[in-house]
């Protein structure tokens, strides 16, 4: 595990800018874990990144568990928030989704099921401060 970056965010615009810069560091097939409390901005970041790839209709996957989008890239957007146990993830085809070598996969609340996550991944930890203030740390796992 390697700490890549720690960044302070003061506004929605800065969050969008961070997300778009971060997107440029992602190679095809990347797996991105987004950890942080309710309202931290996890879906916001995925929405901002997907927009760069001509995907405009990103909505929260909390209820659906996984949303699958195709723009200039395929984006698979998971949310573990309401998943009860690891077995349920296998049941909904987690492995099959992850086997697409080109799609970029985002997993909100990935920390809830750490053992199912692939060894090679990037993790964002978002800590909520006052108002729009957020601290984001980026870790890389190889």
């Amino acid at each position: 595990m390697e700490l890549v970056l720690e960044k302070h965010i003061h506004s929605e615009d800065e969050m969008t800018e961070f997300a778009q810069n971060f997107a440029s560091s992602l190679s095809d097939g990347a797996v991105v874990i987004l950890n942080g409390n309710l309202g931290a901005g996890k879906t916001f970041i995925v929405k901002a990144i997907a927009k760069l790839w001509k995907i405009e209709n990103v909505t929260s996957p909390t209820f659906a568990l996984v949303n699958d989008y195709t723009g200039t890239k395929r984006v698979i957007h998971f949310d573990f928030y309401r998943v009860g146990e690891e077995q349920e993830l296998y049941d909904i085809g987690f492995d099959e989704y992850l086997s697409d070598e080109n799609a970029i996969k985002f997993i909100e609340w990935g920390e809830l099921f750490p053992f199912i996550l692939p060894n090679k991944r990037v993790e964002l930890k978002i800590i909520i401060g006052d108002g729009d203030f957020r601290t984001i740390t980026v870790f890389k796992y190889e």
């Binding site: 409390n37 309710l38 309202g39 879906t43 916001f44 929405k47 209709n57 909505t59 929260s60 909390t62 209820f63 659906a64 568990l65 996984v66 949303n67 699958d68 309401r82 998943v83 009860g84 146990e85 077995q87 349920e88 049941d91 909904i92 085809g93 909520i128 006052d130 108002g131």
Partner: protein, 336 residues
Amino acid sequence: MNVIGIESSCDETSVAIISNGELKTNLVSSQDFHIEYGGVVPELSSRAHLQRINPLVKDALIKSQLTLENIDLITATAGPGLIGALLVGYTYAKGLAYSLKKTFVPVNHIEGHIFSGFLMEDKPEYPILTLVVSGGHTLLLIAESPIKIRILGTTIDDAAGEAFDKVAKMIGLGYPGGPKIQSVASKGNKDAINFPIAELKQQYHFSFSGLKTAVLRYIQALTKNGELGESQLNDIAASFQNAVVKALSRQVKKAIQNFQVKSISLVGGVAANKAIREEIINIGNKHGLKVVIPNYEFCGDNAAMIALRGQMLYESGERFSLDTPPFPSLKSKYFI
């Protein structure tokens, strides 16, 4: 005509039978599936649907005093939903249709909700302004006919039901959040806190993510001085619910002004919320529109609405081949 409906798009497995226009039975797994059939089953999984579907179909036939041979139309949810879950009910239905040589009709789950008002005795009249509010979807649309649906707006982030669940969690209430917020909100002051309602560029869209964050901030600020008291929690729940009601009703009112409609329908799991129901009834009465809101049993996911929608499509002359694929995302050839 006897129609069987099968629904397995998300957590619930459901089977319903409509016989000559009359709903005979509508079984929903969380209420009607009993342990004796297969032991403990996980809540969200394709395996759970697989374990529940056959017993539910058998039960539905017994309760309707029919056999499979009496069924004329076999309908099932084709999407949107979890593909693994969808495939269970959908493939089961296709198998039945193939082996019994009966007509198969794939149904869009959201269209099932949209027309669920037709399950009521007093039916909506076209054009119907319809607000779909559920855990996964928030949509405003006009059903101009059974096969012409004009989408006006959708949520751009969280669904209304999701906002209820998440705010419930923030203030320490359990899941599902909708009924819990409603109950706590009834003891609070809905005007105590002025939570924001998103202003969006697109005229009829919704956004609930900002509201969720505003509630979070409010709680953070208060808890700096210690634990939240009961009256504070009640006020937060009441004010949050009121903000959702306002966000929904604002778009509904706008649509009534800009389009000629005859009735309003409120559908989906969140349509069980009393404050939202009351507001939609008020708006309808004020504008002289017929208001149709399905009974609670038809608000959440259910197969009655799938059977009904399937029959509606069949009667509109729509025909489908058995190789029609299921689909995970919201799309429909009837959306304009």
